[in-house]
């Protein structure tokens, strides 16, 4: 057995350890702060270069790939063209194409949350955040213009109006799985209401209404406004026969 050192010795050792730890923490904090600072310099410089030397960067394939790697690694969006005079006037140039790519990017990233339906206002806000390096703000009108450029690629991307709000739908009906979920839900009673869909699947109002309206248009749903509680019911005869439910209701 080793002889235990005296209390005084223990305390000194503990104090020293504490001081080392404190210093280590300080250094680590300082290091993090410094790095953040350097990172932000790095970012803003890259953003500047992406804007100023766009064409020169494009000309040199080897450097271009290195530049992209840098941008990707520190989180800079290399798409940062200014709108410019001609883009504003005629809608030409890279500006609207860039916006288009960024818009679809945001829609893809938020799809797990919103099911491919996003408020135009929200989209615009996220877009501005992403382009915070660029000097010009992006208006809703710019967004709409950029979306219209995507029309060539089919009608899968559209702006719809629900109530007073404008929503951007990025998933075409043909690829939408929301409808399957509603049909699944309706199996219990044969019908669903908007409130029920929102509550059970925790969707936004726009998402539920849009999906139900589409099912109505497709001829899969039938509406019933005549119920006592005044809530519109969407019946799905395809899920199970209407007659069986009519019979059970009258009993």
């Amino acid at each position: 057995m080793r002889r235990r050192p005296g209390i005084g010795g223990l305390q000194t050792a503990a104090a020293a350890r504490d001081q080392y730890r404190l210093l280590g923490e300080n250094v680590a904090k300082l290091r993090t702060d410094l790095m953040k600072e350097q990172l932000s310099t790095f970012r803003s410089q890259l953003e500047d270069f992406a804007r100023k030397h766009k064409n020169d960067i494009k000309k040199n394939p080897a450097f271009r790939s290195q530049f992209h790697e840098m941008c990707a690694k520190v989180g800079v969006d290399p798409l940062a063209s200014n709108k410019g005079f001609w883009a504003e006037l005629l809608g030409i140039g890279d500006f609207y194409y860039e916006l288009g790519v960024q818009i679809v990017d945001i829609c893809l990233a938020t799809r797990p949350i919103n099911g491919g339906l996003i408020n135009l206002e929200e989209l615009c806000k996220m877009l501005s955040q992403r382009r915070k390096g660029a000097r010009e703000a992006v208006s809703e009108d710019d967004c709409l213009r950029a979306i219209s450029k995507l029309k060539v690629l089919g009608s899968g991307f559209e702006v719809i109006t629900v109530g007073k709000r404008k929503l951007v739908r990025s998933v075409p009906t043909e690829l939408k799985k929301d409808h399957n979920e509603i049909l699944e839900l309706s199996q219990a009673q044969g019908f669903v209401t908007v409130e029920e869909v929102e509550r059970r699947l925790s969707w936004s109002t726009g998402r539920a209404t849009d999906a139900l309206e589409t099912l109505l248009d497709e001829g899969l749903a039938m509406i019933d406004d005549g119920h006592r509680d005044g809530k519109r019911r969407y019946w799905f005869p395809c899920v199970s026969s209407v007659s069986s439910f009519v019979a059970s209701e009258t009993l």
Binding site: V27, A28, L30, R31, T32, M35, K36, Q38, L39, F42, Q45, F49, K54, D56, K58, P61, A62, R64, S65, Q66, F67, H68, E69, M70, C71, A72, K73, V74, G75, D77, P78, L79, D94, Y97, E98, G100, V101, V104, D105, L150, V152, G154, S155, G156, S170, V171, P172, T173, E174, L175, H179, N180, L183, T214, L215, E218, G219, L220, C238, V242
Partner: protein, 450 residues
């Protein structure tokens, strides 16, 4: 075997060259012959696609002109083996012949192209297409002088371990590493070292971003620095969760987001591919969509692909029109993906295994199940069984109906589809039931339900 004096080159299934890490395409030239005039015994490579990259000169056979199978191997000349690029002599004769470019490469005594070979030979490139050999020679010189392959040999250029930015590995060690070193160097020593490290990083940042040329020269260093910062930020904010404020978390997420978006190191551009732009773009796209398609279950909206593809290309955006054109060229190549347009105007990219024939055969087997023979199927049933959206299922059912596979029944319960047994009914004798036909199966099912 043709071309075995050159090095073999790999190609993807759609016929694009497989590039090495860090290798970037700089120029593509159609219908180029590659031959050795000094040694006529070596079979010439005729009328192929010449690809100049930062590392190699690749010759790919033309898929349309199917010559002997032996000649269809892709070949490569590493730029490291190039000894000299010869100036082309301008002459009256040369004005009428196809333009030629000659260069010397080093070879082994066995006549194989190799870096630091003991002998030399001259390779001649003959440009048969309407191309611009002068600009090609310019790019050839640039790539050869650039010596991009040297960096790749001397160590992993993107590995975080090989960063020489004045921190000498001290920064990569965590807090415990720092504590262990403390008695050795002394506290002030460590602090001084930290200080120096930050100053040197600051300086190199400043130097690199002076102007574009400086950045180009320091590009590799800056890429390494970017990687290092990313690593530290990602690891840093997990280890000290208490220090991570909202802003930091935000930037961390941002970085992870972005990591997904790097993909195509060497995008096909109008400048590098020239007249071959759409063709090569189409091939590159076909190679690219495989992975996202697989993730999405074999079918994807064209607009999603547009975004992903452009993101992978970085600043080299392509327009929607170019994308559409690239997709429409797929019919000509042997690629496993296809473009499909729905009645509604929606366009999707799908695997060929999702093609109509495949879906029809699945629908046919679905409607021949005993229950379906009795009561038919609705779009909802098909959607559930095929694992697709109801609108799409309906589209498929209507298409199958128009092909004569199905019959519809319209009732208050909506559309229901049944197997079409009219094929089995003999118009001269409607009561004749062929044994083991669909008609027979249907009758059995109908009787069983009573």
């Amino acid at each position: 075997m043709a071309g075995n004096w050159l090095l073999p080159a790999e190609t993807t299934t759609s016929g694009r060259p497989v590039l090495r890490p860090g290798e970037v395409e700089s120029s593509l030239q159609p219908s180029v012959d590659l031959l050795n005039e000094e040694n006529p015994n070596l079979p010439p490579l005729k009328s192929g696609l010449l690809v100049l990259t930062t590392h190699r000169l690749l010759w790919l056979p033309n898929p349309e002109s199917t010559t002997s199978p032996a000649a269809s191997a892709a070949a490569a000349v590493p730029l490291a083996a190039v000894v000299q690029i010869l100036h082309s002599k301008k002459s009256i004769k040369g004005m009428f012949a196809s333009p030629r470019v000659r260069f010397q490469v080093s070879i082994t005594p066995e006549y194989k192209v190799q870096e630091k070979g003991s002998k030399f030979t001259t390779i001649t490139l003959v440009f048969r297409g309407k191309s611009d050999p002068d600009s090609f020679v310019g790019k050839f010189w640039e790539a050869w002088r650039g010596r991009a392959w040297e960096g790749a040999v001397s160590g992993s250029d993107s590995g975080p371990g090989r960063v020489e930015l004045g921190d000498g590995g001290g920064s990569s060690s965590s807090d415990t590493g720092l504590a262990l070193k403390m008695p050795v160097v002394g506290l002030s020593g460590i602090l001084r070292k930290e200080q120096e490290m930050w100053e040197s990083t600051d300086k190199s940042l400043q130097d690199a971003f002076q102007d574009l040329n400086a950045l180009m020269n320091k590009a590799k260093e800056m890429v390494a620095l970017a990687e290092k910062m990313r690593q530290k930020l990602l690891s840093g904010s997990t280890s000290q969760a208490n220090a991570a404020n909202d802003e930091e978390m935000g930037s961390k997420e941002e970085m992870q987001d972005w990591l997904l978006s790097v993909g195509i190191v060497s995008p096909v551009t109008k400048e590098s591919a020239g007249a071959l732009y759409h063709q090569e773009l189409s091939r590159q796209l076909a190679d690219f969509v495989k992975i996202p398609l697989e993730r999405a279950g074999g079918i994807m909206n064209l607009i999603d692909i547009y975004c992903l593809f452009n993101r992978a290309r970085g600043t080299e955006l392509i327009s929607p029109d170019d994308l559409l054109r690239a997709c429409s060229l797929w019919e000509k190549f042997n690629v496993p993906v296809m473009l499909k347009k729905f009645e509604s105007g929606v366009m999707v990219i799908q695997n060929k295994s999702h093609s109509d024939e495949e879906v029809f055969s699945r629908i046919k087997s679905l409607v021949q199940k005993p229950d379906a023979l009795k009561t038919g199927i609705s779009a909802t049933d098909a959607a559930r069984t095929l694992g697709i959206a109801p609108a799409m299922a309906k589209e498929h059912l209507l298409a199958a109906e128009s092909k004569g596979f199905l019959c519809r029944d319209v009732s208050p319960d909506g559309f229901r589809f049944y197997i079409n047994i009219f094929h089995d009914i003999d118009p001269n004798d409607a009561y004749l039931v062929k044994e083991y036909g669909i008609y027979d199966a249907w009758i059995r099912a109908a009787i069983a339900s009573r």
